[in-house]
Symmetry: C2
Subunit: 142 residues, 2 copies
């Protein structure tokens, strides 16, 4: 298995609402067969009906929705940019689960959940520099 | 907000078990402060304690574990490669939730869950070609 992730699919209960949320944050994608594909670097974020996603995986979805156990992070280049994205997310209808503030690793970050409860951390981490194209390379902790 | 994902963090209940699982599939990473970082293209997969991850997000984790609502996909270049990865995952302790088979989109795919129940689809999708570096570009559906 090569070390890469091709797609990250978020199960949603209202595709139009989910697409609108990400579009209000500036994301653009394509909808085909009730699925929205949003390019994200060399991977793609996908929005698809949660019921279809569970069935497609052969997994039952019969427990109450709670913490998904998966968090997506979007790293930015400054604390001010964290504040900008957190404000835009709140305006687009996100729930702020952790207001932006200083972090234990010397950065600045906040967390919101999208309309389906998927958490996003928006983080400025001076120890994880971003390339010009936004890609992130884990530093050598050696 | 730029259109990209920096980190994908999976909450795990046993970090050593989770790391061992991904290492048996050929992934390599670095552990620092009870967190495992595994480079994945221009993003990184991160393994971290589920309890810490929930607390860090300001989200309570008090519902029974069920379908996370998030699925990671690893696309490969042939049906035979799907079979290879699915076999390796089963040998590493994955649960096969959907055995590999032909898909409605003319491809071939299967789904397994890792030791913490995070689903991975292993897919050969002839409509989503991969670049030499493994990156995926969503085709123009227009």
């Amino acid at each position: 298995m090569e070390q890469r992730i091709s797609l990250i699919t978020l199960g949603v209960t209202d595709l139009a609402r989910a697409r609108d949320f990400y579009e209000r944050l500036g994301w653009r994608g394509q909808e085909v067969e009730e699925t929205v594909f949003l390019q994200a670097g060399g991977s793609a974020l996908v929005l698809w009906g949660r019921d279809k996603l569970a069935a497609d995986c052969g997994i039952s979805d019969d427990t109450p929705a709670g913490f998904s156990g998966v968090v997506l992070a979007h790293n930015v280049r400054s604390a001010a940019e964290v504040d900008d994205v957190m404000r835009a997310a709140a305006e687009a209808g996100a729930a702020i689960t952790r207001p932006a503030g200083e972090t234990f690793y010397g950065g600045y970050a906040g967390v919101f959940t999208d309309p389906d409860g998927h958490p996003w951390e928006i983080a400025y981490n001076p120890g994880f520099p971003l390339a010009d194209d936004g890609s992130l390379t884990i530093p050598d902790f050696g």
